[in-house]
C-alpha cells in the first residue's frame, strides 16, 4: 500500500487516489500535421522505466485534484509530489 503525499492534503492512503499514468506527455499542438508514427508515439508509446518515474495521480476521494509524483517503480519509494504548474523537482538525468 502506497502512502501518497498530496500537495494539498498531505500524506494519504493509496486507496483515496486513482492513477493517471506517465506525466508530462504534451498533446501535440497541431495533430493534423503529425505523421502516423509521430501520432502513435504520442498516443501509445511510453517510457515505462524500471526506476524513477514521473506519473500523474488524482486525489479522487479527497480534494479531487490532479498532481504529479516521482515514484520508483522498482522499490515503490516516493521522493516528490508536485503540482501541475510546478517544474519537476529533479533533473531528467537524475531519473
Amino acid at each position: 500500500m502506497l502512502l501518497i503525499p498530496c500537495p494539498w492534503c498531505g500524506p494519504r492512503d493509496e486507496s483515496e487516489f486513482s492513477y493517471g499514468g506517465e506525466a508530462h506527455i504534451a498533446r501535440p499542438r497541431e495533430p493534423e500535421s503529425l505523421s502516423d508514427a509521430e501520432w502513435a508515439d504520442y498516443q501509445f508509446m511510453r517510457t515505462n522505466p524500471c526506476g524513477w518515474h514521473r506519473e500523474q495521480w488524482l486525489h479522487a476521494h479527497g480534494c479531487r485534484r490532479w498532481f504529479n509524483v516521482e515514484r520508483n517503480t522498482a522499490t515503490y519509494a516516493i521522493r516528490a509530489a508536485y503540482r501541475l504548474d510546478e517544474a519537476p523537482p529533479h533533473r531528467e538525468d537524475a531519473l
Binding site: M1, E22, W39, A40, R46, N48, C50, A74, T75, Y76
Partner: protein, 416 residues
C-alpha cells in the same frame, strides 16, 4: 534425453531412483549462436523448442537471468482457454490450444493439462449479450463454446451464490469445455528439457545487459556472463519488455504492472472447473493439491516490484466471498505478485522491431500462460524465416501506427 515412462520408473525404482539424469544440462554460453532467445520463461523455451523441432535450427541459446520456472511462468494462475472474440486472436489462442492438447506426449513430460472447462460469468444483460456474441464468434472460428443460463452455471458450480439480490447477480456464463488448467512450472521444465535434448543451450543465471547493434542491425548481446554474438535475437521477457526495448533504442506501447495472485489452504475437491468473472473481477480454480488458486486484475500503477497493494487483494477477495460465501472462512497460504506487460489493446506484440534481426514477443498482459505453446510456435517461425507467420502478422508493432488494433479488452474476459 532420458525418456520418462512407466518402464523407466520401474527400472529406476530398483536402484532407489538415485540415477536419474538432470532434466537439462547446465549449459555455459558459447561466444556465438545463430539465434539467441532472451528470456527463459515458457514462451522463450517454447520458441527454442519449436525452432529446433519445426525448423531444424539447433544453434540456439536461451538466456535466463534467474532460473527456469522462477519468473511469470511460475507465477500465473495456470488457466488455459481460447475463447477470444476477434478472428486474429482466436487463431492465435486456438493454435495454442491444439498444441496444449498433445503437449505432454510431444514433450515426454506430464504438464498435467486438465481440460476441465472454463466459465466466464455474466452479471448484466449487456454481459449476456456480449457473451452470446463472443460464443457465436468462437463457434464460427471452430472454437467450442456454449452459452449457459443461471441454472446451467448452478449445475456446474452448485455452491455459487445465485441470489438475485447481490451486487452483481449471476445471470449466466460462457462455457468452453476444452479449456482448463495446466501445471505451470512443469510447462517451463518440460520445454526446457525438450529443447535441451534437441541441442539448444538453456543458460541460467545469465542476464542480458545490452543489445549490440551495428548499422541498424542486431549483432549480439552483452550479458552478465560476457558478450554473445548472434544473427538473430528474439526477446521474450514478460515484465521487462520495456527495459529491453530501451537497450534496443526504441519504445513500446507497453506499461508494466504488478499482478497478484494467491492460494488457499488445501481442501477436499469442491470445484472441478474454472470460474472467471470479468465484472467483479475474480477467477478461481482448484489445483490438484486441493488449494484454491485465486487471481484478479492488475494494480493500477506501473511497477516492477513483483508485489502490489493490499487493497487490490481486498477487492478481489470481497468479490470471491460474495460469489462463493462457502469460501469465506478459508485461510490463505501464500500470496505473490508478478509483473505483466500490458498493451493498449490487450493483445500481444509478436514480430519485428525497428532494429533489423531483433524480434520481440511481448505485451501479453495478464493472459500469456495459455498462449505458451502457440506463442513459441509462431515466434519460432518468425525467428527462422525473418517474417511473421500469418497467425502473428496482425500482432505487429506496426499496428499502433496503422490503427489496426486487436481490441480484446472485453473478450479477454478479464478487464485489463
Amino acid at each position: 534425453m532420458q525418456r520418462y515412462s512407466a518402464l523407466n520408473i520401474a527400472r529406476h525404482a530398483a536402484t532407489g531412483h538415485r540415477h536419474w539424469e538432470p532434466a537439462w544440462r547446465q549449459a555455459a554460453p558459447r561466444r556465438r549462436y545463430r539465434v539467441l532467445i532472451v528470456g527463459g520463461g515458457g514462451h522463450g523455451l517454447a520458441s527454442a523448442y519449436y525452432l529446433a523441432r519445426e525448423h531444424g535450427i539447433t544453434d540456439v541459446a536461451v538466456l535466463e537471468k534467474g532460473w527456469i520456472g522462477g519468473g511469470n511462468t511460475g507465477r500465473n494462475t495456470t488457466i488455459v482457454r481460447s475463447n477470444y472474440l476477434w478472428s486474429a486472436s482466436a487463431a492465435l489462442y486456438e493454435q495454442s490450444m491444439k498444441l496444449w492438447e498433445g503437449l505432454s506426449a510431444d514433450l515426454n513430460f506430464n504438464v498435467m493439462f486438465s481440460q476441465r472447462g472454463v466459465l466466464n460469468l455474466g452479471h448484466t444483460l449487456q454481459d449476456m449479450r456480449d457473451i452470446r456474441r463472443r460464443v457465436n464468434a468462437n463457434r464460427l472460428n471452430g472454437i467450442d463454446g456454449e452459452v449457459l443460463d443461471q441454472a446451467g452455471v448452478k449445475k456446474r458450480v452448485p455452491f455459487i451464490n445465485t441470489d438475485p439480490g447481490i451486487r452483481f447477480p449471476v445471470m449466466g456464463a460462457s462455457w468452453q469445455p476444452r479449456a482448463g488448467i495446466a501445471r505451470h512450472d512443469a510447462v517451463a521444465w518440460g520445454f526446457a528439457r525438450a529443447a535441451d535434448s534437441l541441442g539448444v543451450d538453456v543458460v541460467e543465471n545469465c542476464e542480458v545487459t545490452g543489445i549490440r547493434r551495428e548499422n541498424g542491425s542486431v549483432v549480439g548481446v552483452d550479458t552478465s556472463r560476457g558478450p554473445i554474438d548472434a544473427d538473430r535475437v528474439g526477446v521474450v521477457v514478460a515484465g521487462h519488455a520495456g527495459v529491453l526495448a530501451e537497450m534496443g533504442g526504441f519504445r513500446l506501447p507497453i506499461e508494466s504492472h504488478p499482478l497478484q495472485a494467491l492460494v488457499s489452504e488445501p481442501i477436499k475437491p469442491i470445484l472441478d472447473t474454472v470460474v472467471m468473472s470479468n465484472a467483479i473481477h475474480v477467477y478461481v480454480s482448484q489445483s490438484d493439491k486441493g488449494e484454491l488458486v485465486i487471481g484478479a486484475g492488475i494494480d493500477a500503477y506501473n511497477g516492477y516490484g513483483q508485489r502490489g497493494s493490499m487493497q487490490t487483494i481486498e477487492h478481489f477477495l470481497s468479490a470471491l466471498v460474495e460469489l462463493y460465501p462457502i469460501f469465506s472462512r478459508m485461510r490463505l497460504l501464500r500470496h505473490w505478485g508478478g509483473i505483466v506487460d500490458t498493451c493498449p489493446d490487450a493483445s500481444p506484440i509478436i514480430g519485428k522491431t525497428p532494429v533489423k534481426g531483433l524480434y520481440f514477443n511481448c505485451g501479453w498482459g495478464t493472459g500469456g500462460f495459455k498462449a505458451t505453446p502457440g506463442s513459441g510456435w509462431v515466434f519460432a517461425h518468425t525467428l527462422a524465416t525473418g517474417e511473421p507467420h500469418p497467425i502473428n502478422e496482425p500482432f505487429s508493432l506496426q499496428r499502433f501506427e496503422t490503427g489496426a488494433l486487436v481490441d480484446e479488452h472485453g473478450a479477454a474476459a478479464v478487464a485489463h
